[in-house]
């Protein structure tokens, strides 16, 4: 199956072991190199909340993870991970909860936005199909 731009924007499902951190999900399951995560993925949402600490935010069954490169404007910049002004959106930021750490096989939806569609879409395509 080929996932086009719209599919990535709306989310592609991956069957994986959940209960891990966002960083582990990205590096181990999706095999995205750490330096790409640090340099190119400026914004990460977990279930609609911008995440600052990807080592503490936990993926669970049914989670949706959305990723973007750096965005324009006050609100765009406020969404940046650990950005200078990310505290401006504290009321919607991802809040780490202890009960989310159960390890199991589950479904995670991955959304890619803007330049990341081209940069990651093809690489992730095969992993989604291999599910």
């Amino acid at each position: 199956m080929i996932f086009d731009s719209l599919s990535w924007q709306e989310g592609v499902e991956f069957k994986v072991r959940v209960g891990c951190s966002v960083r582990d999900f990205l590096t181990k399951h999706l095999e995205i190199p750490n330096d790409f995560i640090e340099n190119r993925i400026a914004i990460i949402f977990l279930d609609g909340s911008p995440v600052d600490d990807i080592d503490r935010a936990i993926i669970k069954n049914g989670s949706c993870i959305a990723m973007s490169s750096q965005m324009p404007g006050l609100v765009g910049a406020a969404m940046t991970r650990k950005g200078l002004i990310s505290p401006l959106r504290t009321s919607i930021s991802y809040d780490v909860k202890k009960e989310d750490t159960k390890e199991e096989v589950g479904i995670v939806k991955v959304k890619l936005f803007n330049t990341l569609i081209k940069e990651l879409g093809q690489v992730l395509q095969s992993k989604a199909n291999a599910n």
Binding site: E10, P72, L74, L84, I85, L88, F113, N114
Partner: protein, 578 residues
């Protein structure tokens, strides 16, 4: 660019033209100049559509030079929408052309005693003003075609459509783009209605025979401009995100964050967001033979705009911006890019502010005039405005008036002007600026996010109320300063992360004018502009009680995060304590 062109439309025997030196206004440009003239010469208590109001059109300090990004135009007056001072900003060609013709500003004053309509023609060899009643109620596209047939295709036009002639409070002033189409608008605050009240339909500019403005130190200017362009091109936002997708790249992000006002600010997510996103828009434009990366004026190196073709591959409109796609899209429940582009075209053609009209139609939908998501009904409502029916005149007066007429509580306005595309409950920091801006709810201050001016990171904790207040204050200062240079506000994204690019901008100003400005001087310039604007507003009757969001933002939580606006009134009152 050392002179002001004053056109008194109310002189006995017909309009008169006077050219005068800048005098006390020397050193000012763009918003700095429009706000200085309005605050000094317009009685703050005057009716915005009266002879006492003035419409000031000013290129920026660097417009007309070889400097990149310098072609933004400021249009200022007392606003018929808000009653405050107003500066509305536009791209397009006129700013560069006007500056090359040597004008720091055009000031339209007085008011004709008859109902005749006029056109102004400005060339290198002089200025003419002519009565032309054949132009009455022409939409902007037809008007520009007419001007092209009369004055050739080397011109640039500043014009109003029927909405401006009808003096509707949502009327814009149109500027032609590089293809000589009236697609760029000084949209906010009803500046088109003030041009309409002066009965000037169009200002035709022709800079044939003029030269690019020369800097005091050409070598230093060239070097600074080179560093400035390199800085813009290497930054991920100005070098990649914006050129590829335009400002509409924000749709998916703001929607994912739950901060995307949907169904007249009822919820923060729109199910159809991906269908109208910048990514989808750019793909559709390229597929249909349009353009996804395009500058609104010559000299723009970011090129956040584009050209949208219809299903048959024919030109329909320019690439609609994020705020337009949101206003006519998600806020009205419409997820059809063709319909949104069609509405954008008619907004431009009738001469209407897309943000105000989108917010107004959403209010009308809540009032039951149409169903949310009904794109055809939305297009019909815009035609009502263009035709000037009674309903159309209500809608063309903006969201606040429409809500009042139809008994709707949820009018998302501050000082009578519609809020743009970010819900202040989800991102509280932007709400501070909506509430306290001298212009009514305004999005542009949210773009001037330059750490050098903002002094964020080490200077202020944005989490504390003081931090949010200081950030908003500094954003407003930075916006006012950048708006004076003629530079597009989108340069600020690169200034945020790259101090050397900010320095390059200051070096450009210094090399051009032979000055020794520093970052502090830029801050002082921004402060002095805001001070003038605040004083004008106070004299016009505005108090701190006007610096508030509508009450429902404090009481109605917005899904999915179920948050309300929590910044206290006493903190909002501190924004201008400096």
């Amino acid at each position: 660019m050392g002179k002001i062109l004053r056109i008194n439309m109310g002189s006995e025997g017909g309009p008169t033209i006077v050219e005068e030196p800048l005098g006390n206004y020397a050193g000012l440009g763009g918003r700095g100049l429009t706000s200085a003239i309005v605050s000094k010469e317009v009685p703050p208590q005057c009716h915005p559509l009266s002879a006492e109001n003035k419409l000031v059109i000013a290129p920026g300090l660097l417009s007309g030079t070889a400097g990149a990004m310098s072609g933004r135009l400021s249009v200022g007056c007392k606003s018929p929408l808000t009653g405050t001072i107003k500066e509305a900003n536009s791209g397009g060609q006129p700013s560069q052309v006007l500056a090359r013709l040597g004008y720091a500003a055009i000031v339209l004053e007085g008011k004709p005693k008859t109902d005749d309509l006029y056109k102004v023609i400005i060339k290198n060899d002089g200025v003419k003003i002519e009565k032309d009643n054949s132009l009455k109620m022409l939409p902007n596209y037809d008007l520009v075609e007419r001007m092209k047939s009369q004055y050739g295709d080397k011109i640039a036009c500043i014009s109003i459509g029927p909405a401006g002639e009808m003096r509707l409070a949502a009327a814009s002033v149109a500027c032609t783009d590089t293809e000589l189409r009236p697609t760029r608008h000084a949209g906010r605050g009803g500046v088109g209605a003030v041009m309409g009240s002066k009965q000037v339909k169009v200002i035709v500019l022709d800079d044939t025979g003029t030269k690019v403005r020369q800097p005091k130190d050409p070598e230093k200017f060239k070097d600074a401009n080179k560093r400035f362009v390199e800085g813009l091109q290497k930054h991920p936002v100005t070098g990649q995100g914006l050129p590829a997708y335009g400002t509409n790249v924000l749709t998916n992000i703001i929607n994912e964050a739950g901060a995307y006002p949907t169904y007249n600010f009822k919820q923060g997510n729109f199910a159809g967001a991906s269908k109208i996103s910048g990514e989808t828009l750019a793909e559709l434009e390229v597929k249909r033979g349009g353009v996804a990366t395009h500058g609104c004026h010559r000299g723009c190196v970011i090129r956040c705009s584009g050209i949208f073709h219809d299903k048959d591959g024919k030109y329909l409109t320019k690439q609609p911006e994020y705020e337009t796609v949101w206003a006519h899209g998600g806020n009205c429940g419409i997820d059809d890019l063709d319909a949104i582009a069609m509405i954008d075209f008619w907004d431009d053609n009738y001469g209407l502010d897309t943000i105000e009209m989108g917010a107004t139609i959403a209010v009308a939908m809540e009032a039951g005039l149409a169903k949310f998501g009904d794109a055809n009904a939305a297009i019909q409502l815009i035609h009502e405005v263009g035709k000037g029916t009674y309903l159309g005149k209500i809608l063309g007066s903006g969201a606040a008036v429409t809500a009042k007429v139809f008994g709707i509580e949820r009018a998302p306005v501050v000082k009578g002007q519609s809020m743009p595309a970010y819900d202040p409950r989800a991102v509280q920091g932007i709400g501070v600026t909506y509430a306290t801006s001298t212009m009514g709810a305004d999005h542009t201050a949210g773009y001037a996010i330059a750490s050098n001016i903002l002094k964020i990171g080490g200077h202020v904790d944005p989490l504390s109320p003081e931090g949010q207040i200081e950030l908003s204050r500094n954003l407003q200062i930075a916006t006012a300063a950048i708006d004076s240079t003629g530079m597009c506000l989108f340069i600020a994204f690169a200034l945020l992360d790259q101090p050397e690019t900010f320095q390059a901008l200051i070096d450009m100003l210094n090399a051009f004018y032979g000055l020794n400005l520093t970052a502090d001087s830029v801050t002082e310039l921004g402060k002095s502009i805001l001070k003038m604007e605040r004083e004008f507003n106070m004299k016009a009757g505005f108090t701190k009680e006007h610096d508030r969001l509508p009450r429902y933002f404090y009481t109605e939580p917005i899904a999915p995060h179920n948050v309300v606006f929590k910044v206290k009134d006493e903190d909002l009152d501190k924004v201008f304590n400096w």
